[in-house]
């Protein structure tokens, strides 16, 4: 069996044309057509072929044909040539005896690409006098023009990262695959880990984390903005239900408040009066896995749970609760009432928690998985503004403006891959959801809130990393590994300096990954003549319990060990965020007394 299984209808694919250009196909349709280079061809031949299979566009440009043996590389193996090109002028068109009309005729006559290239070579005035190396180059250039090869790749985070980087590097802030690779290492992302991800790089980091967990552990996509970040990369991978089950998204504010409640020991009690707002608070229920099993039984039998993508609902208009729970893209296709499903944390206090997709049936937990979902957004804003004002003396207006969000989340067409795609992908394994929203399983939420995240990935270049790290700091367990990406070094250097001073972290490193692809051919070995100039910068480190913690800081540190704060913070709904600032690297600025030991 092939290492990556067979191509199925409904799969997402990455198309690699002539080893040069990557493009993304979403939800392959057996009856549809796909674009391969300049040709639009029926997709049918792909179905059932193994991932990695090679296809060739037929001479008429109308169909795909499987190639079962590797094409000859036609590389000259000689080490030295007796010819030289010194008497050649580069006048490509003048040297070719075949006219453009003649070439077109050859093509129409159904000649194979290889034959056309042969004709071009023998009709070139200069071909025979070129060095063998130049002949290779000439043939290669013509091959690119007259032969179109397609390799179908299984979408994985690495290849999606490459595809985005090639097509629209600014959408991923120049996050290159090598930087991604280094971040995964430095953040120690692996099966069983609890990973916090805050990114706005098309979901590439989230996808990579989900992929590395293999269905074991938890990935929380942190929402710091007024709406969930796009997670295109996650949706473009053919994740199994099990793989996808590790992922949930949560707004930063509510997660911090939940964290605070958890450390006060109030997370699982109905503490109605301690929060100004009240809404329907659903107790966590453990019947969720059962529901999932039941849904899987409704699906067609699968050969291997990990390798076969789940079936997806084709239309969304009549989504039922069960459908919503298993549909990857369809759940929230509509607008209006359906769209609200994703705005879990954003609605006014007096509006009941409900979702048209999964509002009843056997998945209520999925809907209200965040324990404190009904906080009044305005209160949070005011508190944040007040806190900011208290610290800066004059920043209140700013904070309010920055925190302020439009009353209704506005969707944007995000079309990185250049391929047609749906405006909204659906939820995760746990239930229906909106754009970028995956609802948490209670055991995941409990685990990350009680013991903290082991691992943290950040790629939100528009937010200052110092601020972001300060905000998420309380969510991280001691010894948690973190990696922060930015296309700009300066903000990361500032964050690094801040962390150095704070002594809340060690092994701080600010690094730039430097990647060089090579052409290795006989007598023609050299680095690629053009290459990507930057893959971004990565700041990494390990969170520690600060060695010289002051009494106040020690007190706060104990929060991690589930001790209770002496004074009630109930009247200050902003403490979740505020704590981040106190706990974070802000206040501790001391001389290093001893070299770390």
């Amino acid at each position: 069996m092939a290492a990556d299984g067979l191509i199925c209808e409904g799969d997402h694919l990455v198309l690699d044309v002539n080893g040069e250009k990557l493009s993304i196909v979403q939800k392959l349709k057996a009856t549809g057509k796909i674009r391969v280079g300049k040709f639009l061809v029926p997709a049918a031949p792909l179905i059932g072929a193994p991932y990695g299979a090679l296809f060739e566009v037929t001479n008429d440009g109308r169909s795909l044909q499987r190639v079962l043996l590797p094409p000859a590389d036609e590389i000259t193996r000689i080490a030295e040539t007796e010819k030289n090109n010194s008497d050649l002028f580069d006048r490509n068109t003048e040297n070719q005896k075949l006219t453009q009309e003649q070439i077109e005729e050859l093509k129409k006559s159904g000649k194979a690409g290889a034959e056309i290239i042969q004709a071009l070579c023998s009709n070139s005035a200069t071909f025979q006098n070129k060095t063998e190396f130049s002949q290779d180059k000439y043939k290669k250039r013509k091959a690119k023009k007259y032969l179109t090869y397609l390799t179908v790749r299984e979408p994985c985070a690495r290849i999606l990262c490459e595809a985005y980087y090639d097509k629209a590097p600014e959408r991923v802030y120049n996050l290159r695959h090598d930087s991604l690779a280094v971040m995964m290492s430095l953040a120690n992302v692996a099966a069983g880990a609890k990973v916090l991800v805050a990114e706005q790089c098309m979901g590439v980091l989230t996808a990579a984390a989900v992929e590395r967990l293999g269905g074991v552990g938890a990935v929380c996509g942190l929402q710091v903005d007024d709406r969930p970040a796009p997670l295109d990369a996650v949706r473009q991978m053919n994740l199994s239900v099990a793989q996808r089950s590790v992922l949930f998204t949560a707004p930063a504010g509510s997660l911090l408040r939940d964290k605070e409640a958890a450390v006060r020991g109030q997370l699982f009690r109905n503490s109605g009066s301690d929060v100004a707002a009240n809404g329907k608070r659903n107790e966590p229920q453990e019947d969720k896995p059962a529901a999932e099993e039941e849904q899987q039984q409704q699906q067609p039998p699968v050969t291997a749970a990990d390798e076969t993508p789940p079936p997806r609902a084709a239309a969304a208009a009549t989504a039922t609760a069960v459908e919503a729970a298993t549909s990857a893209e369809g759940g929230a296709e509509g607008d209006g009432g359906t769209a609200e499903a994703m705005e879990v944390d954003e609605r006014p206090v007096d509006q009941p928690v409900s979702t048209s997709a999964a509002g009843d049936g056997d998945a209520p937990v999925a809907v209200t998985g965040l324990f404190l979902v009904t906080e009044n957004a305005l209160l949070v804003e005011e508190a944040a503004a007040a806190a900011a004002a208290a610290r800066t003396g004059s920043g209140g207006e700013v904070a309010e403006e920055a925190v302020g969000r439009p009353p209704a989340a506005k969707e944007e067409q995000v079309d990185v891959g250049g391929e047609p795609r749906q405006r909204r992908g659906g939820g995760g394994g746990g239930g229906g959801g909106g754009y970028g929203a995956f609802l948490p399983r209670p055991e995941h939420l409990r685990a990350v809130l009680t013991s903290g995240f082991d691992s943290c990935l950040v790629a939100l270049p528009r937010v200052h990393p110092t601020a972001l790290l300060a905000a998420v700091w309380p969510l991280l367990a001691p010894s948690a590994t973190f990696a922060v990406f930015s296309p700009w070094a300066q903000p990361l250097a500032e964050a690094m300096s801040h962390l150095q001073t704070s002594r809340n972290a060690v092994l701080l490193q600010l690094q730039e990954s430097w990647l060089r692809p090579y052409q290795v051919l006989p007598s023609r070995t050299h680095p690629h003549m053009t290459c990507s100039g930057t893959g971004g910068y990565v700041l990494s480190g390990i969170k520690i319990i600060p060695p010289d913690a002051t009494p106040l800081e020690l007190q706060l540190q104990f929060l991690y060990q589930s001790q209770t704060l002496p004074s009630s913070q109930n009247q200050q709904p902003s403490i979740g965020l505020g704590k981040g600032k106190e706990e974070g690297p802000t206040e501790v600025r001391k001389e290093e007394g001893q070299d770390g030991g």
């Binding site: 590797p70 074991v216 990393p465 001691p478």
Partner: protein, 337 residues
């Protein structure tokens, strides 16, 4: 026993053991950026350094990331206890051979497309630096078959993996892979093959036999001549998509800040400039000084206020750098059937 979160998972797939130190755990004792040691915790164990004596017993139950003080009377010496990771292990392991480092390791794992469940072959094992990362990538359901020519090194590596609780995920075999190739039992069984040998081209046919269609190959070689020979061998052994990379991490240093918090005026000034931050163009990066907040970000304003924004930071690339480690040649096994 605590090297991988996945090896200590409970039924719900979430690790619970990682938070506090237990007997048998490997702990990275941190004294400074370039002074770390791996220590295995035993109730009777002691750790001695220039700052004093530390009894392991007092470490047990503490969360990873804690500071512990020396048990000497009146001594104030302390160290930090970090949870081990493959990256930390690479920095503290005993060098039995030259080893791979972060940049190359990350590329190998990522470009071999390793995932939980993958089967990967490695030769040679060397000091086990890469092996730990391979195991992390394929755990909890995959496997690493690693081969080492040198008997002593193979034994040492096996013992290390056992101590780290990885025995179920990695098999070490003493074998001259360059001469014998991989065992026939592994034919058609591998998703990825990695070679770090003086003559990787000799092993290419065996690697081809072991890889599944679409499986990935990688060889690490310090010299370009080795890469050239490997490329030739790959082209004639049914591999495709050959690409050679060199990857280095360039460190930035001299990150020093002028400590802030000196003046009230500064904070005021910062507030003033932050006020204009929302008029900033969306295509600008966040600015630590003067202009701090990305527009529309809930955290930025509050966070920047927290930062204080009175520090001025500079950086430049480190003057001394690793100039080269090796070339990584990747290839994919052609999908015939």
């Amino acid at each position: 026993m605590n090297f991988l979160a996945s090896t200590s998972c409970t039924g719900d797939g979430l690790s619970t053991s990682s938070s506090s130190i237990k007997e048998g755990d490997c702990v990275i004792v941190y004294e400074g950026m370039n002074s770390m040691k791996a220590v295995y915790v035993s109730t009777k164990g002691r750790y001695d350094n220039r700052f004093g004596t530390f009894k392991h017993e007092s470490w047990i139950g503490k969360p990873f990331g804690s500071k512990v003080t020396s048990s000497n009377k009146g001594a104030s010496g302390w160290v930090l206890l970090l949870r081990p990771t493959p990256e930390l292990w690479t920095q503290v392991l005993r060098h039995r051979t030259q080893i791979l480092y972060l940049a190359d390791i990350s590329m190998v794992v990522t470009h071999l497309d390793l995932k939980p469940g993958s089967v990967v072959l490695e030769s040679g094992t060397g000091s086990g630096s890469l092996t730990h990362s391979l195991v992390r990538a394929v755990a909890p359901t995959g496997h690493v078959h690693t081969f080492e020519f040198h008997a002593g090194r193979a034994e040492d590596a096996a013992a290390e993996f056992k101590q780290h609780g990885l025995s179920g995920l990695v098999t070490v075999t003493q074998r001259n892979i360059e001469e014998l190739g991989f065992p026939d039992t592994l034919h058609g069984a591998a998703d990825g093959v990695f070679l770090d040998l003086p003559a990787p081209h000799k092993v290419v046919p065996s690697a081809a036999a072991c890889l599944r269609p679409n499986g990935r190959f990688c060889a690490f070689s310090p010299c370009i001549e080795q890469v050239q020979r490997t490329a030739e061998a790959l082209s004639s052994s049914g591999f495709t998509d050959l690409i050679t990379y060199e990857c280095l991490l360039r460190e930035c240093e001299d990150v020093g800040g002028v400590a802030g918090g000196k003046t009230g005026e500064k904070a005021g000034a910062v507030g003033t400039s932050a006020e204009t931050a929302c008029g900033q163009e969306a295509n600008e990066p966040p600015q630590g000084q003067g202009q701090g907040a990305a527009p529309g970000c809930a955290l930025a304003a509050a966070g920047d206020a927290a930062v204080g924004r009175s520090r001025v930071v500079s950086w430049r690339p480190s003057a001394e750098a690793r100039g080269h480690t090796g070339y990584l040649i990747f290839a994919r096994k052609f999908v015939c059937g």
